[in-house]
């Protein structure tokens, strides 16, 4: 296996809602509840799950935009969980983020050239003319043209805006990109362009990706490894092809089966697995395995004991958190 560029150990994040004047707080929300994973160098780890599963919170902790309640994050072998000040600033140039909504993540009052110059200004990097040539390189890298420099974000289509977002993330030569739903706001025909761009950039620049997504097909397409999250925990973590060929956690299987496939038609659609009800609230997760309330295989053991995420006896890299893996 390749060397890990990023490792998370038992990350937890609790959000305590503001206590009221008299001190009556609501329950804390355990958004992330003991999550561990590694991202291999030059590889993509897909973190997939439904809304509220904690994947975005995890991404923000890796980005150091949120401080974990407990647990640690290692980047290139060094603990960065509590890096501050100057060291954090230089860390920022190594780990960059691409956001979901290119309509929201670009300052509407800035021209493209200012948006792309911002990283250099913040890090007081090269001189003006070197910065200019670097910005032109960046544009070229993401498939935009020099005449786009003087325009404002609203003058671009969604796909082009996402290219600007990617160029900004690449400005400081990062080693790891956190991709937070990078294509979910885009049209189908444009999604593929951005996915291909990301794959190409990874190959050319040797980037590592932590991909946050809810779309399994997108995750499958660009991930080397995939971790499936449910209610703040990772329930399965394997090599991408293994996970999709033969899911071992019932939730993974149900999730895959819920994705509408364009080659499955009305007549045969009823054969899929259907989950009943909604996921429980992260403010009040069920005891034992978080998934047992919706699982068709659940037993008393599942309701009582929380299964650990452990490797397969034959294949250590194939991890699942289930008492009765498929």
């Amino acid at each position: 296996m390749t060397r890990a560029i990023l490792a998370a150990h038992d990350l937890r994040k609790k959000f305590a809602p503001r206590t009221s004047f008299l001190g009556h707080g609501q329950e804390t929300i355990r958004a992330v509840d003991g999550v561990s994973f590694t991202v291999g160098e030059g590889q993509t780890l897909g973190l997939v799950g439904e809304s509220g599963c904690g994947k975005s919170t995890t991404a923000r902790m890796v980005m150091r935009l949120l401080d974990p309640t407990s647990g640690s994050i290692e980047f290139q072998g060094a603990d960065i969980t509590s890096t501050r000040g100057k060291a954090l600033r230089s860390l920022r140039s190594d780990i960059q983020m691409v956001f979901q909504d290119p309509y929201e993540s670009l300052n509407p009052r800035r021209q493209v050239k200012e948006i792309l110059a911002e990283p250099f200004r913040i890090h007081r990097r090269p001189t003006d003319h070197r910065m200019r040539s670097r910005i032109l390189d960046l544009l070229d890298l993401v498939g935009l043209l020099p005449q786009h420099l003087g325009r404002y974000p609203f003058e671009f289509s969604g796909g082009q805006r996402q290219r600007i977002g990617i160029a900004r993330a690449l400005a400081l030569d990062p080693k790891l990109l956190v991709l937070d739903e990078p294509v979910s706001a885009l049209d189908v025909s444009v999604q593929a362009q951005i996915l291909n761009l990301l794959i190409g950039l990874q190959k050319d620049l040797g980037l590592s990706y932590l991909l946050i997504a809810h779309d399994l097909a997108v995750v499958k397409h660009i991930s080397h490894r995939v971790a499936v999250m449910y209610l703040g925990r990772i329930v399965e973590n394997s090599e991408s092809h293994q996970l999709f060929d033969q899911p071992r956690h019932p939730y993974t299987k149900a999730l895959m089966s819920s994705v509408p496939d364009p080659t499955v038609f009305k007549s045969s659609v009823s054969q899929r697995i259907r989950l009943e009800g909604d996921p429980p609230s992260p403010a009040d997760p069920p005891d034992g395995c978080h998934f047992h309330t919706r699982c068709w295989l659940a037993t008393e053991q599942c309701a009582a004991v929380s299964p650990a995420l452990v490797g397969d006896t034959k294949d250590e890299t194939r991890k699942v958190a289930c008492h009765f893996p498929l």
Partner: protein, 310 residues
């Protein structure tokens, strides 16, 4: 203004109805805005600008000194009432001073105090509001509790005691109004900051390593300027009236230097014989305050749809 409306465009395309329904809505809305509210704001601003221009022109062009007493021409009525009189447009007061000249010299002072006070209050309020909204936590608690305290204190009482304590001159007056005016700005800017702080592009800037000062200055403040301007115009109207009230109570700028308030105070006892002494400064105050409020209303309806989207 163009930026604000184009920004609304983009949001309209995003939520609810994509496709052209959003587009049409946008065009309709921007057009409507410029047609109605824009006109209102423009009208108000024009009136204010006229008063300011006149405040500079009239005292300069007037043949009369603002403090030139002439006991032979006391209490002359305005020009159009007594055509055989001394041809004073707005008449004269009990000491024979020209009202027209005094009203516009007074306008200078009233406007200077008001604009100065609003600028000061905006500055203090914006800085504190930004800090409260963006930093949150204890800073927020302290600032906002101070705001609450400030707003709970009777404004007039506060002004009276401060003026009584440090004396009524121009600088002190401005100070008083800054002291009473900043909480409004702080609240507005805090609210905008709270919303803007969650914006993805602010998060993106943090991810790039931008420091707090840079984020507040480059990302939050420019996007919070819209609502800030609205509050400033309303505040201007408030301070104009407030300043006149204080002057009227002889707690503002002291005679013989004229302000709208103290001219009115002087005319109060003469209302039955010489209404014009009180009337002209009064009507100027009404015009100015109304113009400021109109501008605020107009700006508000332009800025507001965008506020709601945030």
């Amino acid at each position: 203004m163009t930026l604000a409306s184009s920004n609304t465009d983009k949001h309209a395309e995003l939520d609810g109805w994509p496709d052209a329904a959003g587009l049409s809505d946008t065009f309709r809305r921007s057009w409507h805005l410029i047609q109605s509210e824009g006109r209102l704001a423009l009208g108000g601003a024009l009136v204010l600008l006229t008063i300011i221009t006149l405040a500079f022109l009239i005292p300069a062009l007037s043949p009369f000194d603002w403090n030139g007493q002439d006991l032979t021409s006391r209490l002359q009525p305005p020009l159009w009432i007594d055509e055989n009189g001394l041809r004073r447009w707005f008449g004269t007061d009990a000491l024979g001073r020209d009202i027209l000249t005094r009203v516009f010299v007074g306008a200078r002072l009233s406007l200077l105090v008001s604009f100065g006070a609003v600028a000061g209050a905006a500055l203090v309020g914006t800085v504190l509001g930004l800090l409260a909204g963006y930093l949150g936590g204890r800073v927020d608690t302290v600032i906002m509790r101070t705001v609450d305290l400030q707003l709970a204190f009777p404004v007039m009482l506060l002004a009276l005691s401060v003026v009584a304590l440090i004396g009524p001159n121009l600088v002190n007056l401005i100070l008083v109004f800054v002291l009473t005016g900043w909480p409004g700005f702080a609240r507005t800017v805090r609210a905008s900051s709270l919303a803007l702080r969650e914006k993805r592009y602010v998060e993106a800037a943090r991810g790039l390593g931008a420091g707090r000062a840079r984020i507040m200055g480059q990302y939050i403040l420019p996007n919070a300027l819209g609502p800030l301007t609205v509050v400033a115009t309303f505040e201007l109207a408030k301070v104009l009236i407030f300043e006149s009230s204080l002057s009227f109570l002889s707690l503002g700028i002291q005679p013989p230097i004229p302000t709208w308030g103290n001219i009115m105070a002087e005319g109060r006892s003469l209302l039955e014989v010489a209404w014009w002494v009180t009337f002209f400064p009064g009507i100027m105050l009404v015009f100015a305050a109304m113009a400021a409020n109109l501008t605020g209303d107009g700006l508000n309806s332009i800025v507001d749809p965008r506020l709601r989207k945030q």
